[in-house]
């Protein structure tokens, strides 16, 4: 699988996936009640969309540059692998920080389980938007 589209195009698809993911993550947490929101709905709307875009763009960038060496075919499984890897990497850093300052960074297991699930969900959205983006551009060039 070769990246025939520019990095710029890919990052745009990733940003769109991030917006959707941020909103869905907010909705899922609202349903699960794993974390009781402390900020207002409007505040969270902004922070979840912005946070979603940031995480998704970074994952999309890794997918763009490392996609050809990942042991899968198709954007979806590769995106799943990348987003899970990014989450585990950040979570690993969090564990180290937690050991250094357990008051400042303490671990909550239900939140971690939800977070891993959301990372997988981001992979689904990212893979889906990359696939749809590729087909859309191919269709417009035909």
């Amino acid at each position: 699988m070769k990246n025939t589209q520019s990095l710029k195009d890919r990052l745009v698809y990733s940003a769109v996936a991030g917006v959707v993911w941020g909103l869905v993550a907010m909705g899922i947490n609202n349903m699960t009640g794993v974390f009781a929101f402390e900020s207002t709905f409007t505040h969270n709307l902004v922070s979840f969309i912005f946070g979603g875009v940031v995480f998704s763009i970074v994952s999309g960038g890794i997918l763009y540059f490392a996609g050809s060496v990942l042991p899968f075919k198709g954007y979806l499984p590769k995106a799943l692998m990348v987003t899970t890897f990014v989450w585990l990497l950040l979570r690993g850093g969090g564990v180290l920080l937690s050991q250094m300052d357990s008051h400042r960074y303490h671990v909550v297991t239900p939140e971690s389980i939800q977070g891993l699930g959301l990372a997988v969900l981001l992979g689904l959205f990212l893979g889906l938007f990359w696939t749809l983006g590729s087909r859309g551009l191919q269709g417009s060039k035909a």
Binding site: A25, S39, S47, F48, R91, G94, H103, E111, Q114, G115
Partner: protein, 34 residues
């Protein structure tokens, strides 16, 4: 991408105005937080 990657780390760990901005987001995605 490099700037955004740095932002991601700041957001994930609350490396403090950004700290309060993303407090709920950090909890929801399962990052360690106070």
């Amino acid at each position: 991408l490099l700037v955004i990657a740095f932002s991601m780390v700041v957001i994930a760990y609350g490396m403090e105005g950004v700290h309060d901005m993303f407090h709920d987001f950090r909890h929801v995605i399962g990052m360690p937080c106070h």
